[in-house]
Symmetry: C2
Subunit: 269 residues, 2 copies
């Protein structure tokens, strides 16, 4: 699984406070910890008010890239903000994100066409909101992929996020999500399918338990990228264990190595 | 999932020591703890030398049934021992087990025919050893089910255990096991499919991590009975989380109740 570290995001209260206080040490620690835990990309999202976003985003990118050479997943609800701050990214990267909403595709797809070093996150949501059933998710993905293909952008530069809905609100959320993974891989064999895993557990107790078992099920259905907290042992444990169980880790070598490095398994008391 | 509590088994060193020392308090504690954690059956296996087995088994049954009214999964490698000790069981129960090995079927199937209150565990192993591929497992199951059906024993009295092999020895153990679950349910819709889950992790570190994610995958493929340690929070957490994720727990009520009862989720430090 491709791990996109989710922790440098102003939507997380502690990170928001650090951004507000311009707490460099805290942000640096998040970047280093996620890289050490095995992140492949670092998501960077300021999550501040629009008039303060560019300054906050540039500040974050400066600090993160000072301590990590991981490619950046450049994350903003405003596609213009993404375009405006791309110059501050040393190692592209995933533009996060397009969807069928507003002008996102019109703004970002031409940029992707010109910059083959960038990939893109494509969310299965439109102006009418998020899609619930696998069929609705695929319909949105189809519209996005038609535009992607029309511009000659290769499938393997696209991460489709079918959108994980809270199980507490939508009882068949996991079932529909997993059906969507399989349908997406069937329709576009080259694309990655990504999930913001922890969304499954909004409003449910023991969130890490539910998140980690959802990750196992989603991986089994073909998920190959996760926007997750790689420092969460339940999550990263699910990843290594599931890969080993699914025959994707010969002789469980990666699992055993992760255990020896102290990344998975029970914590000594 | 039907939970068969595995802890009262002389194959477990601490339980063996308690049996040897006739430590009533220890055995009582195992029975009560497993029932409180949600066990549906208690497996009872003496695991001692043949000449001491009957006495040990009767001693165990006496203590266990003194504190618990759960039905007993009467477990011995010797089918005659099972027949000889059935009279000591107040609440049948599963005879554990038949297989294609030796005289097990010849001894136990007539007993099952006469005693409709008992169910039976049927292992996918024969004189040639355990079966590795799903096709081998099904071939053994077919032979057993032919005999079961010939005696008019109903499918829902049979728990087929396709046999979980250690992932450290057989790299596709989980994949073949899960294929077997689906094939068994396809062939005999009324039977239960059971797994001794922790066998997956022999020789692998962080066993509880691997066991619990294996349980999630197996449940998703249709496993409906587990010979497990119900006091293990990783295992029981997987059961509740997976049921909720698979839409088998409306409004996550059982999951939420298990959390409130303190059965799942992080332990307060």
């Amino acid at each position: 699984m491709i791990i996109i570290g989710e922790k440098i995001n102003g939507a997380i209260p502690k990170t928001a406070a650090a951004i507000e206080a311009r707490d460099e040490a805290y942000i640096r620690k998040l970047a280093v910890a996620q890289e050490q835990a095995g992140a492949d990309y670092l998501d960077v999202c300021a999550g501040t008010a629009p008039d303060k976003e560019e300054e906050a985003l540039r500040w974050l990118l400066g600090i993160v890239q000072d301590v990590s050479e991981l490619p950046i997943c450049l994350d903003s609800p405003d596609p213009h903000m993404i375009v405006n701050t791309m110059d501050a990214v040393k190692h592209p990267g995933i533009l996060n994100s397009i969807s069928a909403e507003g002008e996102k595709c019109d703004v970002l797809l031409p940029v992707l066409e010109k910059h083959p070093e960038w990939s893109v996150m494509a969310l299965c949501s439109g102006n009418a909101g998020v899609s619930e059933t696998a069929e609705q998710k695929i319909a949105v993905a189809q519209g996005l992929m038609d535009q992607v293909k029309a511009r000659g952008i290769a499938e393997d530069r696209v991460f489709i996020d079918p959108l994980v809905l809270a199980l507490s609100a939508i009882g068949n959320s996991s079932i529909e999500f997993c059906r969507a993974i399989e349908m997406i891989h069937g329709a576009w064999p080259g694309v990655h399918v990504a999930a913001a895993v922890s969304n499954i557990s909004y409003g449910t107790p023991a969130r890490s338990l539910l998140n980690s078992r959802f990750l196992t099920i989603a991986l089994e259905h073909g998920l190959d990228a996760g926007i997750v907290d790689p420092t969460n042992r339940d999550i990263i444990g699910s990843m290594y264990a599931t890969d080993a169980l699914m025959g994707r880790d010969r002789h469980s070598r990666k699992y055993n190595n992760a255990f020896r490095k102290g990344l998975i398994g029970p914590v000594e008391k």
